[in-house]
Symmetry: C2
Subunit: 534 residues, 2 copies
């Protein structure tokens, strides 16, 4: 077998928590954060070590012909055991991670993927496709014991932009390409995908496609789905390669069946994606609202206009305070416009006028490439956004519950839904821990017909059982979502954590169709068992 | 059984040709048109009569409980035998229509649809879902003899707008609602779907959804797919009802599996669709180009800008001459902008400036709600667009070949594709008939990464074998499309006529998945046999 593959960077990825090891808050910072939250621990749970894990020897060996693609390095295996949800971090901190894969494979081409799938099908080895490993819904771990062994199929050695069509603004890109590596390769061509999920540094094109990730744009083309021109998917039943087409009406969209299939139908190995010129014109502003209902109306008006802001994120008072965008109990709307071919200040001005008619306040007149009042609020929100997952892990070390979840619903349901989530999840936290909890909300994406609320929960834990406290709160949240016919996920995917909610939401005939499709493409049931269908 | 259901209008639909009987060109007009095309007949083929058809008695009778929904009226049966492709019209004119369905059913609710499917499953009766009957790809007829009988399932008695959500701009609408009936019901709410295919008067919401119809918008949201909020589909395995959601990332999109399923997976009975306010601001213009390559570059520049014209249709010189938009061998770009919330003249002016930099000419400065030079060209094109199918039927009566087909491809392939189609189809027509042929092209929809060319073929026929001449030309065209990796259909659907091209284009693993899905939802194989999968 091959030795452990090292990253080309000198920074080290955390095997148990978010992102880079050196970006994690240290013990003192953790303690300071914990002190702000009643009911947390006095000192942080120690950072877990791979060598303390109880790791069995691999139950299978790869054949000689594939051995160069496969490693059983304990660090690699541990790092591929789970995604990066709060409950994953807690399980690692408490020394009970999910099942550790027997082997990690890093194929470098389609052939390697196909050979690994063939071997795994023959040997009843579960294959868990793995991109950046940033799943927050249990998408990259194995649960159960129906397979002889578990192989984590890490695609990140397939990380090249293979072709660029500058005339038609598209590129063929390997699925294992992490966000920054992808943009770095496009930059010399003056093009960009502009898909910037919060996980951008630590997630791959293939992961975005397999989970229908939400990206940069708060309106319009919010999901990666709309940027797909063609897909290349290796399945146990053969390779599916669709033509590059700007649009087609030939039968149900085959690409749309694989988008969101979360590795259960095949392994996406490359895609042609639609690109754009880099924006030359930008303008942004923060708008403050005394009341959330007014802010909601303003946002709906903007979403139903022709304005198409790139950014249109509404923070409730709690979220605004938490991110430093406002400390006066205002709700804050972060608005941003961008364009590669014309100035956008007129659009920002018109959006600001719409917010004023709903009671919105901003400090000054709009200016090109920067913008009006609230710059500090905008940049406070932006840095908090990127820092947030690290702080979450710090809070987890203090025994706190700190996690997010998201959904989407039509406008008629939005106010009642947000109220119910806030009230019922907070009440459940008090009941479970005896301490008050914070439940904040922001809208991350808005549509003419609805919006995507994103909730942040901060609560005390129960020492040693922090993940089960969270599981209880999440079950309450899922119940509220179901009652309001709000989707179990707008852009975090189903994974294993959202299966109960997904199973209730999905129309039963579609479940029949999906199960049949899975049976046809993955007859031995080796592909990411447990996600989407059984 | 119920008697023949009459339309509420006093006008009569043609059973064999396009649209209204009274809108068809008369014999004199047909003769005049034929005289312009070498190699056509001296006088028109007579209009076919239902009473001349050799129509067997129905091979089955519906059960008493469903008899009130079903008719065996010969006129109804004849009118439901085929769609409205050129080859359908010719087959009717030549007295050899496709297999005439044994029965026509007009359910009025989901229950009726489900009961009919259950009965048909039990009795091995093929069920062909039928909306407005405007298919031009053999989508609504039965071919073969594997079923005991054929039932045409006409949805047009389900034609109501059931609910309107004005806040979230959406409506729940029954699938059998024809275009004008749909818009008439939305008008009092100040809302519109703005889906205006050429078949608008004679096609239904359900038909648009089942075939992924292309609509009003030449850029952006070109297909009905993007306007779907939720679908309600009755299948033999149960009813699929998705939640109203503005967006979701929960698994592969279930609605997208049914969109484009052409009645093979289930019967779409209603949908929640996204609506818009009626546009208050409009501006349009025609731009003239001496050369088609310059025009292509101009259109691509506009498609890659932020301008989002509602109309952006490029006619080549032949198409411009045919529609009366230009007679000087110019290519003509018909540009149109519209908005419900802001004036659009600035956008039109900017688009015109872009066209000028590629050699485009227009007559005067842009004006609001009307616009600059070329008004006559715009309206000439518009009336020709609506009149075209009637003229096609007139030419068919003169023994001519007169038909269209459409595709889409990425920009790098567009010039070569269009050239090859023009050259090879015209050469094939000369070879088949000994007479020169006209092959014109327009772009109906444009995208940042490609465009949808639409071809019109006018040629002589071979008396009595006009449809086989067309079949030969279409096979040549399909071969060219395949060689250029251009889709077999951008918005006309697959039906039965496009099956060979579709089967070659569709990735084989998706075919496996689709076949499995069909087996799960329609285990007896009664739903629209022959489309998409066998």
């Amino acid at each position: 077998m091959a030795g452990s593959t090292t990253q080309s960077t000198s920074r080290t990825r955390s095997w148990w928590g978010w992102g880079w090891e050196d970006a994690h808050p240290d013990d003192a910072e953790c303690t300071a954060m914990g002190a702000l939250l009643p009911g947390t621990l006095a000192r942080p749970i120690p950072v877990p070590r791979v060598r303390d894990l109880d790791m069995a020897d691999p139950a299978v060996e790869p054949p000689r012909s594939l051995a160069h693609l496969v490693t059983a390095d304990p660090g690699d295996r541990a790092a591929h055991a789970m995604g990066k949800a709060y409950r994953d971090v807690v399980r690692a901190l408490r020394g009970r991670p999910g099942r550790i894969p027997d082997l990690v494979a890093r194929p470098t081409d389609d052939r390697g993927v196909a050979d690994l799938l063939e071997w795994a099908s023959d040997r009843q080895v579960a294959v868990v496709p793995y991109g950046g490993g940033s799943s927050v819904t249990g998408g990259v771990e194995y649960r159960g014991d129906a397979h002889r062994a578990v192989l984590s199929l890490d695609l990140t050695s397939m990380r090249r932009v293979l072709e660029v069509d500058t005339e038609g603004r598209a590129a063929r890109i390997q699925a294992g390409t992490l966000g920054p590596i992808l943009e770095n390769q496009l930059r010399p061509h003056g093009l960009t995908l502009r898909h910037f999920p919060q996980s951008f540094e630590f997630s791959t094109l293939g992961g975005w496609l397999a989970t229908r990730a939400g990206g940069h744009y708060a309106t319009g083309r919010t999901h990666i789905d709309d940027f797909v021109q063609a897909l290349h998917v290796v399945t146990p039943a053969g390779t599916s390669s669709s033509w590059r087409l700007p649009a087609s009406g030939a039968g149900p969209s085959h690409d749309r069946l694989f988008l969101g299939s979360e590795g259960a139908l095949g392994v996406i190995t490359e895609a042609w994606v639609r690109l754009q010129e880099r924006p030359r014109h930008k303008a942004s502003a923060a708008v403050f609202f005394a009341g959330f209902p007014d802010a909601l109306r303003a946002v709906r008006t903007i979403a139903q206009s022709d304005l198409s802001p790139a950014n249109c994120r509404l923070l409730d008072a709690g979220e605004a305070a938490l991110s430093g965008a406002a400390q006066d109990r205002s709700a804050v709307l972060v608005l941003g416009f961008e364009s590669a071919d014309e100035p956008v200040t007129a659009r920002l001005e018109r959006a600001l006028a719409l917010t004023r008619s709903h009671g919105g306040r901003h400090d000054s007149a709009a200016g090109a490439n920067g913008g009006p009042g609230g710059d500090a609020a905008v940049s406070a929100w932006r840095s908090a956004f990127l820092r947030m997952p690290y702080l979450r892990d710090g809070l987890a070390r203090m025994g706190a519950v700190a996690e997010t979840f998201e959904t989407a619903a039509t406008w008629d349901r939005i106010p009642g839904l947000i109220d119910a989530v806030r009230t019922e999840v907070a009440a459940a936290a008090v009941k479970a821990t005896g301490h008050p909890a914070t439940v904040n909300c922001r809208l991350t994406h808005v549509y003419p017909d609805g919006a995507a609320p994103y909730f942040t929960v901060l609560a005390a834990g129960r020492p040693g059982g922090e993940d089960s406290v969270w599981d209880d709160l999440k079950a309450v949240a899922a119940e509220v979502l179901h009652r309001h016919r709000a989707t179990i996920t707008h852009h975090h995917a189903v994974g294993r954590d959202h299966r109960p909610g997904y199973d209730r939401q999905r129309p039963e005939p579609f479940a029949l169709a999906l199960r049949a499709a899975k049976g046809a493409l993955d007859p031995r049931g080796i592909l990411n068992p447990g996600v989407l269908v059984d």
